[in-house]
Symmetry: C2
Subunit: 574 residues, 2 copies
Amino acid sequence: MLTHIRSVALGRKPADLLLQNGRVVDVLTETIYEADVALADGRIAAVLPAGTPCEAAEIIDLAGAYVAPGLINAHCHVESSMAAPESYCAEELRWGVTTLITDPHEIANVAGAEGIRYMLRAGRQMPLNYYVELPSCVPATPWEHAGCVMEAAAIAELLEEPGVLGLGEMMNVPGVLHNDAEVLAKLRLFLKAGRIVDGHAPLLTGRELQAYAASGISTDHEVVSWEEAKEKLRAGLAVLVREGSASKNLRAILQGAVSEGIATRNFAFCTDDKHLADIRREGTIRHCVRQAVALGLPPAKALAIASINAAQIYGLRRLGAIAPGWQADIVVFKNLQDFEPLRVFHQGRDAWAVCAEIKPVTPPAVLRGSVRPAPFSAADFSLSKFLPDKEYPVIKMLPDNICTERGSIQGCEIASALAAGKLHLIAVLERHHGTGHLGLGLLQGYGLSDGAAATTVAHDSHNLIVAGTDPDAMAIAAQELVRVQGGYTLVQNGKVAGTVPLNICGLMSSADTENLIKSLENIAALAHAQGVPKNIDPFVSLSFMALPVIPRLRITDMGLFDVDKFQFVEGMGA
Amino acid sequence: MLTHIRSVALGRKPADLLLQNGRVVDVLTETIYEADVALADGRIAAVLPAGTPCEAAEIIDLAGAYVAPGLINAHCHVESSMAAPESYCAEELRWGVTTLITDPHEIANVAGAEGIRYMLRAGRQMPLNYYVELPSCVPATPWEHAGCVMEAAAIAELLEEPGVLGLGEMMNVPGVLHNDAEVLAKLRLFLKAGRIVDGHAPLLTGRELQAYAASGISTDHEVVSWEEAKEKLRAGLAVLVREGSASKNLRAILQGAVSEGIATRNFAFCTDDKHLADIRREGTIRHCVRQAVALGLPPAKALAIASINAAQIYGLRRLGAIAPGWQADIVVFKNLQDFEPLRVFHQGRDAWAVCAEIKPVTPPAVLRGSVRPAPFSAADFSLSKFLPDKEYPVIKMLPDNICTERGSIQGCEIASALAAGKLHLIAVLERHHGTGHLGLGLLQGYGLSDGAAATTVAHDSHNLIVAGTDPDAMAIAAQELVRVQGGYTLVQNGKVAGTVPLNICGLMSSADTENLIKSLENIAALAHAQGVPKNIDPFVSLSFMALPVIPRLRITDMGLFDVDKFQFVEGMGA
């Protein structure tokens, strides 16, 4: 193969494709220069002085546009887009990302290895480099039942799957610091194999940060401030600067970096969680690059962060630059202000054209039948579960914030508060193994004036969450999600008012992107019309009510959980 | 092991060593900050704010000195120092180098795999990271007989030896460009195994450079100008900026880089060939860093080139920075102007103290008995080999230059020119396998007024070179080198006037460094006193007369070689 590439470089054989009259953004020297780029066998064969005679099967005149390496999204969860991997990848490609490093943490919580294998199969057929970091924390906590428990042995079986790079974000920081045997077994497995281990260490600092970094962990994407970034970079961690739908950390970090003029070699860009509509509107890493340049970073340096830096951090050789012998992953930008992609190539092929031809993988039946709670009825959500003379804690939703506060109410006041739409019942039903685990609690601030809303996207174990003004509506909503095998649904006046089926594990939809975005917008609009305040996302906010690691009060299938005390509320949980 | 390091980081267990009150040079962010550095189990356990309480078995107060990562010499030939590996490494450590990437090309030309294994064994016991790039071109050319022929299969056997990194400098540029089967087999072997391949491409440019780089070659240390550096960096090659005894390229390259302000991520520093006395006087990479700073590079950036850059280029993880979990390879500098090392640590141990305790490996007998020419006598160098009525080419040595010019002389004039000391006989004897191959020619400009000089260091095949004013003196000199089994020798008035034995393959000496430097200085002084001009190094210049790849006329054991025509001179060679 290299023999042919050499012949093309030497001008003895025609190139497959010649990109003429472009300006190459060289992220290795951070310089920009005029050149023609000859491709062969999926690689860059030669970067030639503009106008060098060069035969090619196809010639594209770039008329001064910029030839940059394909962008790298260094950390994302495809499932968070709710699109199937193929649709997600197509959106990334639309905006110039040719390498994706994804942690299929969400699907693993539902379907374990089977889910991960599906994500690999679906992603790998796309015209981008689809790399997987294996989920390190399934389930994420011991206070909920997930669809799967993945211990070191289960993960080891996936280590040699093509596309698997390393171990996904190690969220169990206490487990690392206190030598939890299972956590150490996972770290050992990957470090011994020379693989990378991603971190997840929000606000970790001082000696604990030093100990965490000393454990062989290489990255962190949870950094929210410049001071935190500097401390983590100095601790040897690569900082994956995150700009997602909810968490936007780029400005805070890069403003500091620019003003102090530090070396940026250990920065990369990532999204972590970004919604489909947001990606369609502005892209992912392209949006990061654009913002970085607006903050004062030279374009070639911003593009270096978006390409070669991530490649080096993850040990991907000959990826992330425009140079002979390197993989021909290329994005052509119209200019270096708004970074609008004109063309995207993966391994030398027109990635957009290839996308259009791809038939999505059909998810295995088990992934399409993942909503299997034990039989339930309205009685399971009955008000009779609350004693009139007892005081009960209430989960208070906050606007524009996934944290909650803790309120309280007397048992005898619950019925009238529900009737007035000032309080809601909230339940989490174990939906993976039909065990019948069901947590029931009270919710304030959701605003739904009547009926119920339900979702099978429920971080991190993805049980079935349903919230409503009365038990009957809640039962109808939950039944609807069993019927469609997962998704979002809204009940009004005792009837289903709208449903977005998420047929793949109750997390992702096989619908096409345009329709999926519209359905999601429609059901959110319906919910807002039904009373959910504008500053609360009707389904996304709901899906975080079951995440027992974020303050202060949460509900899981095992009951009401007090995050401050790290234990279930007495009398209301396991 | 990591469990203990974590405990130290957390302050639960005492560190092995605490470096207090230092200023850490962080090459990842290129910033410098005050901190205490705690070491445990050969790694950095924690970098703590200065003054943090931290128990330790030993505490060193650095009083404001600079704590930098141990330096990396990215490309060198240990044999060129003529010191045994242990002595060479001790000199490197004296000046702060804790990682050495060496290509045992010279010893491989004498003793093949046996020689490489000895270099690995000897180097690996030293307190530094001793990495070997396997020689790619043994013999270097088809126009001479080396001690060994190493084809791909022979190299493959060494691939898994501990310490072996990749393939050494691929000097056979035409072989790469014209798809020589043996060259391609070697490239494939290393690239398939995910190993690095070093380049060697003096002045290669344009399409040929593109083709060479596209072949999977990663580095080049032959760059002599800024323009050449820029083209090669853009071609994706790491430029190993060389500052050796003869080739000094740093100033030309870095001046350009500084003035254009390009990114320096793909620069590293190396020496290629540096003499022992030069190293003792000024060090290797420390000398590069000092010069780079004098040229205007910020100290932290210059140190980054000297450490983390090389580590990343060669894929060495957790090496080359001061950060928790990274290998505790540290050099403490008094200041950031002259970069005088105050202390050097390798894997947390005081490297200088460890050096003092090490007993050198005894080279295997075959390496100590490597000078085995077929029987010879003065008659083999006889004037009668030259016909009086024929014109003969003459190798003209040039001052301060290893290139030669081509002169000529009539056969009938040779005797008187020899007698007047204006001409010398020069012979190369195959010395590895007793084949009796012997090339005889004429040399001008060497200046020796009487007697003969001989050496078994004879690039690249290291046969026995002897030059003199008469056949008898030459025979005595050559015999002396057989007697001592290699080295330098000088004959005056029919007797050996001085000898420096190089008992290891006729290339390196087991003598201690101080004595070896003195002996080398003494014999050179003797030769100068005997007439060799000041601007010709009596033995080093002689050793290059057998290298048939440098213009214009050379002599090998196969005869007189015309480098311009790439063929032997008619009637004077194979």
